[in-house]
Symmetry: C2
Subunit: 363 residues, 2 copies
């Protein structure tokens, strides 16, 4: 049936892959003709084109991508690196936001014909220097990220999911942090919250600093005391401890326990919920809860937790599109794009109808 032996054969000579010239010789054509036939280019008679294709198929020809890339001058390889978590270079994938951003980046890139290679968080030159990447996606860069600096110095275009402004060669898509915070706080206020607390990481990413600023502005505008608890480190442990700090009885604010919690730090929604319960809060009876999170477990808690999604898929798609445009057409404009967040309102942030006691129906 075919010239290529099936699984078996003699394993000693790994038998070299069939090249374009092999197909050409077999078909009695030139490599130029076969190449044109397979790529659908050139001026060829239908018979010759079909002959070339049939022979290639029969011989199991697969073009050598490396040779193609060399000829094309572009590797069609995009790096993916995370700025944060440099001390634990690979944990970022365990965060739902990054998991989805990574996946969406890879999916969109692949559709565009680019392969995505995974790099460790905070990786330095040595890691990517000998990869000949066409571009690198830097997720969540810190302020003046050295990774971005190095990449730009090496003349590699950089795309980021956070704004990297004023640098030629750096493109970004960012979420509208201000609008997101306002939407969440407005929602909580509409549900009756009067003493909301904000939990936000003590980090230098633009998103977090803007969240902080937007919250301050909103509080001033609405005459609400500004209650903020800053989280020192990423991870569930520090966030949960911060939740406990935020919800603990504050002697200075006696009788004024918070009635809403907006968690901007990434943590597991069920853990946040449990922490609130341990401190004696009923959700949503005593406390309205909104988490900035992409974690799907939020839908499965009792009650389900309202989340503010940063829409990593939208960020990745928009980013890769601009990146490809830059790489292939040299579009130097539109260096920055803003993406809207999405508030998924669930029971945890909806004040129950009128009943004071939040009794659950028996199973």
């Amino acid at each position: 049936m075919t010239d290529v032996p099936p699984h078996g054969g003699q394993p000693s000579p790994p038998l070299p892959r069939v090249r374009l010239v092999d197909v050409a010789r077999e078909a009695g054509l030139s490599k130029t003709t076969v190449s044109a036939a397979l790529n659908g280019t050139g001026r060829l008679s239908p018979e010759v084109r079909e002959k070339a294709r049939e022979t290639a198929r029969r011989m199991g020809y697969r073009p050598n991508a490396t040779a193609r890339r060399l000829r094309a001058g572009r590797a069609r390889l995009i790096g993916y690196v995370v700025g944060e978590f440099a001390d634990a270079p690979w944990t970022f994938l365990e965060s739902p936001y990054f998991a989805r951003l990574t996946a969406a980046t890879a999916a969109t890139s692949l559709r565009r014909g680019y392969a995505v290679v995974l790099l460790p968080a905070g990786s330095l030159q040595s890691e990517w220097a000998d990869l000949s990447l066409d571009a690198v996606v830097v997720a969540d860069p810190v302020a003046d990220d050295p990774i971005v600096e190095d990449l730009l110095a090496a003349r590699i275009p950089v795309f980021s999911d956070r704004s990297v402004e004023g640098r030629p060669g750096a493109y970004w898509v960012d979420v509208d942090a201000g609008a997101a915070v306002r939407e969440a706080l407005d929602h909580l206020r509409a549900q009756g919250a009067r003493r909301p607390v904000l939990l936000v990481p003590d980090s230098t990413t633009r998103f977090h600093t803007e969240v902080f600023a937007a919250h301050r502005a909103w509080c001033a505008e609405h005459g609400v005391p500004e209650r903020v608890v800053r989280v020192g480190a990423p991870g569930n442990g520090p966030v949960i401890r911060a939740v406990e700090t935020a919800l603990a009885d504050d002697p200075a604010a006696a009788g004024a326990r918070p009635d809403a919690l907006l968690v901007v730090a990434e943590a597991s929604p069920p853990l946040v919920l449990d922490a609130a319960r341990r401190l004696g809060y009923e959700v949503p009876g005593d406390l309205l809860l909104v988490c900035v999170s992409e974690d799907v477990t939020a839908e499965h808690t009792e009650p389900p937790v309202t989340t503010l999604s940063l829409r990593p898929e939208a960020i990745a798609e928009a980013g890769v599109e601009t990146l490809v445009a830059v790489l292939e057409h040299g579009d130097r404009e539109a260096a920055g794009v803003l993406v809207r967040t999405r508030l998924d309102v669930r029971a945890s942030s909806v004040r129950p109808a009128q009943s004071e006691c939040t009794s659950r129906p028996p199973t």
Copy 2:
């Protein structure tokens, strides 16, 4: 200082990258000599070697990896694809097991000089055909996975974290499912459990079928009735519903509620814990709980949840090592390796001292 202009310069001509010949001409040497100097090969006088290196450094020379790869005949690219979840090709990264397996695969590969490219779950030929991958890691293949078949037909070596036996070109590392189940069940029994329930996906991966078989054998051996609830689909929702099924009062088994739960399906530990609580169980008072999971939230629940770790990092490392050995030295032996699991005993599966009531100390 340097010949390469800084960030600015005239952006119109993207100025071609400096090649080996450029360095050679600048240094007054041949490309052969410069290549040997930079690679530390050949017979060169120390002066010439240093001269070449200095010139390359000064000109900002970075070797073209694509040309290198073409010359070397190997792309130094490893694909990574997941067999399951073909209907939602990118969700796998949200599973902690796959997130960590992916990360560890990428890390180990990179250390060995191979880049890992991410592919969608269940992807077909068209996705990877024009990438010239040296090998592909197939995570969690289903039985007779078509991906594995296609890859082997294309003569691409396959490495898997599940056993793919009897196929030349297929290498695997697997967890010792039998030992894992026995260890978990022995632990539960030692803690006093007499009516354990097993939750296991209704899937064809070898791991799950082996878990099922090992559980059956263990039950027979210990004279324990075999209680199994099969989970139809992956994801938190189906698993939680299965937990509810497993823990619901069974009229047929009246008065014999389960006293231990072994969850082999991947689900969020806090959600499993909450589900048990909603059904009126105290953990670990009424129910001992062990989850097969890599989810870090297990440490942060109250009580913390005992987990059985499949040790994805160990799997990935062992796998990439053998893969590299095959690629570089053609070691055709040791097609399969077994990795031991690890039981992280936490409070959820330790019978409390003597007190019948599981009162929590006040905060």
